[in-house]
């Protein structure tokens, strides 16, 4: 098996793993469909934007939860936005944590919220690593003259 074929196989295995583990769902495939010759870096751009935006949102959530009197509505607003963005890139696990997070916000449960915040941070970190791995793999395939397989 030549290098390109080997990397393509790795790509298939890795994307399958990411989907099975729930890191990515079908929406990520939808995202890839929007990438073409006119917009060759679209997915990477969106993902970068997502992580930039999420860092800001997570900081806002953390700060809001540190206040003496916590404004749960404000926290909820951040989580709502974060959940929306996560859904756009197919980040299923993140999206699910956000659902729990919003429930704790509604119940004004500080401990629950803090737990969710930690979970979100961990999931975000894990997803970032996974996507970086995936993109690196794709770069290798392209650099070796191969084409990135179509998702799904």
């Amino acid at each position: 098996m030549d290098a390109v074929a080997q990397w393509r196989k790795q790509w298939f295995d890795y994307t399958q793993y990411l989907r099975l583990e729930g890191f990515l769902d079908d929406q990520f495939a939808q995202l890839k469909k929007l990438q073409d010759e006119n917009s060759p870096d679209f997915v990477v751009e969106v993902v970068s934007l997502f992580f930039q935006d999420s860092e800001k949102l997570l900081n806002n959530m953390a700060r809001a939860l540190e206040q003496n009197v916590v404004d749960f509505k404000q926290v909820d607003a951040c989580v709502h936005q974060f959940k929306g963005s996560s859904a756009w890139i197919g980040a299923m696990r993140l999206k699910n944590v956000c659902i729990n997070f919003r429930n704790y916000c509604e119940a004004q449960n500080l401990e629950g919220c803090l737990g969710c915040l930690q979970q979100v941070q961990q999931e975000c970190s894990a997803l970032k690593n996974n996507l970086e791995n995936l993109f690196r793999l794709e770069q290798q395939i392209v650099a070796a003259g191969g084409s990135i397989p179509v998702m799904e």
Binding site: Q30, L34, E45, D53, S85, W88
Partner: protein, 184 residues
Amino acid sequence: MGVGAAEAQFHVLAVDDSIIDRKLIERLLKTSSYQVTAVDSGSKALEFLGLNDQDDQGTIAEAPSVSLNNQHQDVDVNLIITDYCMPGMTGYDLLKKIKESKFLKDIPVVIMSSENEPSRINRCLEEGAEEFFLKPVKLSDVHKLRPHMMKGTSMEDEADIKGVEEIQSPEKTRTQYNGFDVVS
């Protein structure tokens, strides 16, 4: 661009406060060959459309020879797609303002939301929204926009004629079969 690309490109105004959503919507629309203008608030959308926030529409109505195409920005928008949840002016507020405006009310409006709330959906549709899309919006959703954009263009007349022909042909078949000349 497919057959009949002689028509001008349709122009969509996208409204969403989230930068990621704007980027995605813009890409979805451009992939479907629409020209896109994306703004981050309802008030910016109204500004773009030539309608100010504190607008007294009575004044515009009184102004002589003012039509949508003659407004100072000479804007030609075929469809507005807006997020529901936005700070300040919500998508629903924006929808209302558009439908209340003499000059903008015929522009089709589509609402997007990440929340699947039947009461919200109904409220928007009742206020005159053409469609309600759940986020994340898919390419298949964007395909649903075309018929709405065809309204109010010469395409509509063509479609109307075709519709009439279709209604008439069964009659013709029937009359031929019966051998009578039925005047409908």
